[in-house]
Amino acid sequence: MQALTNRAKEVSREPMTFMERLYLPNIVKGMAITFSHIFKKQPTIQYPEQKREFSPVFRGLHVLNRDAEGRENCTACGLCAVACPAEAITMEAAERMPGEEHLYREEKYAAKYEINMLRCIFCGLCEEACPKDAIYLSETFAPANFTRKGFIYGKDDLLIPNKNNAPEEYAAARGAARV
């Protein structure tokens, strides 16, 4: 039969030589290998204290973005929900009332915006679909939770803090998010 690759190695069926049947020399060889591993560098990252740096293209938890004046970008157009292959996004739109101009950028906003992190596959298509630059994938991942409900992230979890009245929280969120 034609081999698919040239890497196939024929198994030797020859009876073992006396040295091989002694088995002890090979054990010693193996022990030398394990002993040499004592001096190898450990690749372990001590997790809660040290964290592995994510690559700049890492797609983690979502953030809902605000504009320069701290108003929500999202207009609840639903394009992200349509683009989402995992159907993880649900939203309800609402109309901006007079006097709420400092909260929402346009006349329509998302009253409810939920992402089910158990459904989400972190593909980033919502980010690409959004015409208003309202949703971004940050560099953190969803922490563990005790209930399934806890993985449904609402607006209060997703919305980035307002730069103008909560600068510290905003900086912290930005530190994890590449907005």
Partner: protein, 349 residues
């Protein structure tokens, strides 16, 4: 002070010595479990347990606490008395061995000469073998009393393995006894300590290798840990055990390791002898302390060797295990014994 024809101070002295040695061996065993995990980790490029206390040093206490807090399950169909007797016996047999091991020469305290050996009986090494064989009962009783076919089969595996390897071990030992001419461990050590005398390993390299392999099999250590093959043979004789009863079984293995290391050190590596040092020129108390440290160092080296082997090679298949025991080790041990006997006869002329 002699009352009822008994030397009560001697009794007290021995009781204290027993307490010290038993608790010291338990403490060392406790930390052997920790170092087992550390050695495994280091050999596999991992840091190992490092969360409980500084460098993870409190890990064994956490492990023990966990085992004690676990639910104590005795299966309905188990034979209750025997189910409890199993781990107790394994542990007792493991600890009883320490009675005849000479931990060091004697110290002088309060004007008394105290031997650092619980009992220097003239059949010391036979006693060790007898007690170690009792450990098999712990395995058998535990496996049988669980009323679980897998436990029972594992117990049978364990028992037949222990019996097979004990034979080769005993024959390898006879060669040492022919050289020393005594069954007392103290005498054997003293002979190796005498100025100008070599350790028995020089005369018995093959015997030592055989003894070491058999000791590994006796302690159910990898590559001979078939009785408790965790992954492929459904745990082992302690499958139905939980909580501290399981802990006793696991712990007995480590105590056994320490004791067999001590026996091997005494038989082949001069016991508490420090090489190239004439202990008789030192003050007795200092010599005793150096002796204890020396024996402990040898034990630690053996323990590391046990662990090193465990984390290097996989376990044998059962037929390979039996073939190795009956077709290789026993004939080799017999040849070793006959050769030793022939050389001794030739030297005597």
């Amino acid at each position: 002070m002699t009352l009822l024809a008994l030397d009560w101070i001697l009794m007290l002295e021995k009781l204290i010595l027993i307490a010290i040695i038993v608790f010291a061996s338990l403490g060392i065993a406790l930390y052997t479990t920790f170092s087992e995990r550390k050695v495994a980790a280091v050999l596999q490029d991992r840091p190992g347990p490092n969360r409980a206390g500084p460098m993870g040093l409190l890990q064994p206490l956490a492990d023990g606490l966990k085992l004690i807090m676990k639910e104590e399950i005795i299966p309905n169909s188990a034979s209750k008395g025997l189910f409890i007797l199993g781990p107790a016996m394994a542990m007792t047999a493991a600890l009883m061995t320490c009675a005849v091991i000479p931990w060091s020469s004697s110290v002088e305290l309060f004007g008394r000469k105290i031997d650092l050996q619980i009992a220097d009986i003239n059949i010391g090494i036979l006693y060790v073998f007898g007690v170690v064989s009792m450990g098999v009962y712990g395995i058998m009783i535990g496996g049988w009393a669980s009323n679980n076919k897998f436990s029972l089969m594992a117990a049978l595996r364990g028992a037949s393995q222990a019996i097979s390897y004990e034979l080769a071990m005993g024959v390898a030992l006879i060669a040492v006894l022919m050289i020393s001419g005594s069954l007392s461990l103290k005498t054997i050590v003293d002979q190796q300590m005498a100025p100008g005398a070599w350790w028995n390993i020089v005369y018995q390299p093959l015997g030592f290798i055989l003894f070491f392999i058999c000791a590994m099999a006796e302690c159910n250590r990898t590559p001979f840990d078939l009785p408790e093959a965790e992954n492929e043979l459904n745990m082992g004789y302690h499958q139905e055990y939980s909580s501290m009863k399981l802990g006793f079984y696991l712990f007995a293995e480590y105590v056994n390791m320490i004791m067999s290391s001590a026996v091997m050190a005494s038989l082949y590596f001069g016991g508490y002898d420090v090489p190239f040092l004439d202990e008789s020129t030192l003050a007795p108390n200092i010599a005793a302390i150096i002796g204890v440290l020396s024996l402990l160092t040898k034990i630690v080296i053996f323990l590391f060797l046990f662990m090193w082997i465990r984390w290097t090679i996989p376990r044998f298949r059962y037929d390979q295990l039996m073939n190795l025991g009956w077709k290789s080790l026993i004939p080799l041990a017999l040849v070793n014994m006959l050769a030793t006997g022939a050389v001794i006869l030739w030297q005597q002329g």
